[in-house]
């Protein structure tokens, strides 16, 4: 019975709103945009944090990544036609980190070598990483075919390589390539496995971006040494870099920050030119979260202002409606409607109005993130709770901003109201 009555009340509310379709529609725009941006905000935020978490997971939350970077003063190079640049992390650094920083479980050195690769008649620039088998323990990548590098490969300085999916695609290789030989530079390597490579997306730099192949570190040292010769326009550049990267695995997530500080202290002494950069995935996660927070504050404010303005607009219209319908209110009161029934009538109308706005806003809020994903590639996820929340907000706005007009209506003196023209 009561349910039927509620349905009836809502139907009456809709009916009276339908008398002024355009006015009702314009009135709810604020709520539409407010609710739309709440959902859009939560969807973009959710998508970003889901992506960040995914990346952190791939980087390993217990890991610290140290990269060699070319010092600034070297970059602002002299005009000498020949120069030798010596920078970056060393084998010594790796040893010291492993031995002196207590919470460090293991370290993985990595050399990056750029060489030409041969595919049939064609050549292409390849990026090869010389590293230890531990790399594959620290960086979680799916095995697509074959196996990863083994300690035996290391010990025997074996000419084997593991291609990344990216590299395999570039070398036009398929599963049949396992066991085949690939020419990189002047040497041949037997392909022993293919691993999934990290898709290039998002804000966090993964350590294996654009990597084509992994070879045992010992083999890489044998074949290529530690110096790089580069011929640039009119000059020859010798670069001496021992390690491009050191991955450090720490015992537990809690110790990551302190380990990073310890490593920083350790490296600062031996590298006064600051030719290294320490990246902590965990810190990157925090940074991402901070970015997300900023984003949420901005969109949240827009949503809040929109809802406030929308609510005030609705209050304004409902006040006008009360004035317009003074006589109706007088009639209802004379017939015997109680004050709270008049309040109920106007509140229901306002809530119906804002709920319709909320539904339209939800539709927009669900469509908008899809458009963002489509145009910018930014991942978005519409969380179910955001829809519930938004509809809750719509009803809330209706109740808050409808209450005053409804009370004004109920407070009218029936005799005065009946006399109103």
């Amino acid at each position: 019975m009561h349910q039927l009555r509620a349905v009836r009340n809502i139907r009456l509310g809709i009916k009276s709103l339908m008398l002024h379709k355009l006015r009702s529609l314009l009135t709810i725009l604020g709520v539409v945009f407010g609710v739309g941006s709440v959902i859009a905000m939560l969807s973009v935020g959710e998508g970003a944090s889901r992506e960040a978490l995914e990346q952190i997971r791939k980087l390993g939350s217990n890991n610290i990544i140290i990269d060699s970077i070319e010092p600034i003063e070297e970059k602002e190079g002299s005009d000498r036609p020949e120069r030798v640049i010596n920078y970056g992390l060393t084998y010594e650094d790796e040893k010291r980190i492993a031995e002196t920083v207590e919470s460090v479980q293991r370290t993985v050195p990595a050399k990056v070598i750029d060489r030409e690769g041969w595919v049939g008649e064609r050549t292409m620039e390849l990026r090869i990483v010389g590293t230890t088998p531990d790399w594959f323990d620290l960086v979680d990548r799916e095995m697509l075919a074959g196996r990863v590098l083994s300690q035996r490969d290391m010990d025997s300085h074996a000419p084997v390589c593991v291609l990344t999916e990216y590299g395999a695609r570039r070398l036009l290789a398929t599963e049949h390539t396992i066991g085949k030989f690939v020419r990189m530079g002047d040497d041949y390597y037997q392909v022993v496995g293919i691993v999934q490579s990290e898709q290039v997306s998002g804000s966090i730099q993964t350590p294996d971006r654009h990597i084509d192949a992994y070879v045992p570190l010992n083999t890489a040292r044998d074949r290529y040494g530690d110096s790089v010769v580069r011929f640039a326009a009119g000059s020859t550049e010798f670069k001496y870099i021992e390690l491009a990267q050191i991955l450090v695995e720490v015992e537990s997530t809690e110790q990551v920050s302190s380990a990073a500080v310890a490593i920083e202290v350790l490296l600062r002494d031996s590298h006064p030119r600051l030719d290294y950069r320490i990246a902590v995935p965990l810190a990157l996660l925090r940074q991402t979260e901070a970015t997300k927070r900023t984003f949420n504050i901005v969109l949240g404010s827009i949503a809040g202002i929109s809802l406030l303005v929308g609510g005030i607009g609705i209050m304004n219209i409902m006040l006008a409606s009360v004035t317009e319908r003074t006589r109706e209110i007088g009639i209802r009161r004379a017939i015997g409607a109680k004050r709270r029934q008049i309040i109920g009538q106007f509140l229901i109308e306002t809530v119906v109005l804002t709920t319709i706005g909320g539904l339209i806003g939800t539709a927009l809020g669900v469509a908008f993130p899809k458009a963002i994903t489509h145009w910018s590639g930014m991942p978005t996820i519409v969380p179910a709770y955001s829809i519930v929340l938004s509809l809750g907000i719509s009803v809330g706005v209706g109740l808050v901003f409808g209450l005053y007009p409804a009370m004004r209506a109920a407070g009218l003196d029936p005799i005065e109201a009946l006399r109103h023209e």
Binding site: I331, A334, K338, R340
Partner: protein
């Protein structure tokens, strides 16, 4: 102060619908006080048909508002059955209007966005009737006022006389103890006015209690008793229609 002798003193108390005892109504307008009613004592018995007459400002509208529980007296007692209306709060007054009073206004006062049926059902809606029973009652009442074929129309599609008949049907829907009628023919041509008055007389003949405010003598002629007010006091009471 004792109540002035009532014209209906001979009738048994059971038959008294409303008793007014030395009713005062004072309005404050700025610094001056206006005595709209200055000590009115009167009983309205069941199945009576009163016309309340008097020049404008004589207090007849105030009296109708008080009788209709839209307003409370500032002095004296208003007994509706055995209830002292002066002591009731707004909700209780609304409840009395809903259950015991039917209003008929000069300007009909139908709600324009509702259909004839919905207008007639309005009191039933607040009484909490279900849709089926309300519809049945509305159809019944529409038939009695001769508007059975107009239920789905809106008031704006009806003539003045038809509108007033809808208003009568609405006033009757809650089976009130008393019909309060304010210048029922004021907005109608004379022929239609006669029709409306005949409906009211018929309702009275069936046992309905009617109090009607009018300043037109020929309209007042339909009533059984006429009460003349001047300056908020009873000037005289006439019997006979």
């Amino acid at each position: 102060m004792m109540a002035a002798p009532s014209p209906n003193l001979t009738e048994a108390d059971d038959d008294v619908v409303v008793r007014l005892e030395d009713i005062h109504k004072v309005y404050r307008m700025g610094t001056t006080q206006v005595h709209a009613l200055a000590g009115v004592s009167l009983s309205f018995s069941r199945a009576s048909f009163w016309a309340v007459m008097g020049p404008s400002g004589s207090g007849k509208s105030t009296m109708l508002n008080l009788l209709g529980c839209l307003d409370r007296p500032t002095g004296g007692r208003y007994l509706l059955g055995d209830q002292d209306v002066g002591l009731l709060d707004d909700d209780a007054l609304s409840g009395i209007r809903l259950q015991r009073i039917g209003f008929i206004f000069q300007s009909f006062n139908l709600i324009p966005q509702l259909t004839v049926q919905e207008n007639i059902e309005l009191p039933l809606y607040y009484l909490g009737w279900n849709a089926a029973d309300s519809a049945l009652r509305a159809t019944e009442l529409a038939e009695t006022v001769g508007l059975a074929d107009r239920l789905a129309h809106r008031p704006t599609e009806l003539s003045g006389g038809q509108r007033q008949r809808v208003a009568i049907a609405r006033a009757l829907s809650n089976s009130p103890d008393m019909l309060l009628v304010d210048e029922p023919t004021g907005n109608l041509d004379s022929a239609t006015g006669v029709q409306i008055m005949e409906i009211l007389v018929e309702l009275n003949n069936q046992g309905g209690t009617i109090v009607m405010v009018t300043h037109e003598t020929h309209v007042a002629g339909y009533a059984k008793q006429r009460l003349h007010l001047i300056d908020g006091r009873i000037d005289r009471v006439e019997d006979g229609g």
